[in-house]
Subunit: 203 residues, 2 copies
DNA sequence: TCCTACTTACTTATCGGTAAGTAAGTATAT
DNA sequence: ATATACTTACTTACCGATAAGTAAGTAGGA
């Protein structure tokens, strides 16, 4: 682990946290600068504008994600491959919870702030999923499907679950249930989800 | 259909469109006022502040939703009842697309802008779902489940699908596919989703 | 006349972004 | 070895725009 990030790397890291916590609009560059212990215009030295900083933060994650998904979904067995797809996606979201929240926001916002570069990377992951589903269909294992919908089921279920810790607490409070007893950790949710998706898709 | 809404009702309707399109932060009361052909302070005559307007918009929908779900999920057969739950939820989101987008944003935002009154109504819908699942479990039809996760699967898949028309277009563009051919309408997505959920949950 | 439903004109606060300047380091010519 | 020219990585001070919200005044109906 690097004990010393460059200022630029630090801006990217802190910006990720802010965009994740508050969303694009409600994130103030002044606030990011303050945490980085620099002035706001110093951000403009490294990045053209707010949108460019956002793109840098986001593209880094989307590129990593599409790359590891492509590298991992290489199994012959479609069911196993689909499990790997969901697990890989899920584990990446756990490792990068900031990304998960930003991703969830972007989907809710019809990706209006998402630059084309990121849409291209996202499309690659959908392409990987589509290949898996088609391979399974050819082998008579999976039913004919709309890959985008399956992608949505996987991605939004996971990002939402990761992002809604407080909401779950509030809901369980209203229902008078102990949240500890009923609230599983996210690793379990991923495993549960992948089993359900496989079951739902199998002929 | 009422051909004449009161000014207050008109503010609520237009505010719903703006909150849905731009989110809470990026919605300007000035813009809402302009469309309603009144001045901005006229909004303050009817509502304490922006948050109160938002709560009014949101609570109206959440109350309606929890009410019709409670009214409709009264079947004996757990499978049929779960289908009704998903269909009712989905149809309401179709009828109120503004609400769907706001809902999606709130989930992505961990419901940080959602007032307690709305969380209570949301909890009622979760309670309905929990009853259905438990009834199915007792009858040996459904497997043991985490209702919140199932709720998330249903709600986020639908709200996201409804909200991401442009994103789908961009993704299909990147992949070089004709979006018309592959993009089903939302009614079909609801039916498809409910079948899949049933299949995934059945023992 | 007085309440309802506003309008006009304003304040305060915050944002993204820019202009201009500067300390510290580096490459190069002499 | 050192003076010169230049770059890197910032800072201070500020601008224009826009937002939420408010104080005070007013038209019109009961």
């Amino acid at each position: 682990m690097n004990k010393k990030l460059s200022k630029k790397e630090m801006i990217i890291a802190i910006a990720g946290e802010y965009f994740s916590k508050y969303g694009y609009d409600a994130t103030s560059l002044e606030a990011i600068a303050k945490v980085c212990d620099i002035s706001k215009p110093a951000i403009y030295y490294h990045f053209k504008d707010k949108a460019a900083l956002y793109e840098t933060v986001l593209l880094k994650r989307f590129s990593e994600l599409s790359k590891i998904i492509e590298q991992n979904t290489i199994l012959e067995n479609p069911k196993e491959n689909l499990t790997v797809y969901i697990q890989t996606f899920g584990n990446y979201l756990i490792e990068a919870p900031c990304f998960s929240a930003i991703f969830a926001r972007e989907i809710a916002n019809d990706a209006k702030s998402m630059p084309d570069s990121c849409v291209i990377e996202l499309s690659k992951t959908l392409q990987s999923l589509t290949s898996i589903l088609e391979s399974g269909k050819k082998k008579g294992i999976f039913e004919c499907e709309n890959p985008f919908m399956i992608q949505m089921m996987v991605v939004t279920t996971l990002t939402s679950y990761i992002s809604t810790k407080m909401l779950r607490k509030r809901v369980f409070n209203v229902l008078g249930e102990s949240d500890k007893a009923i609230d599983p950790n996210i690793e379990d949710v991923i495993e549960n989800l992948s089993k359900k998706i496989i079951k739902a898709l199998t002929c």
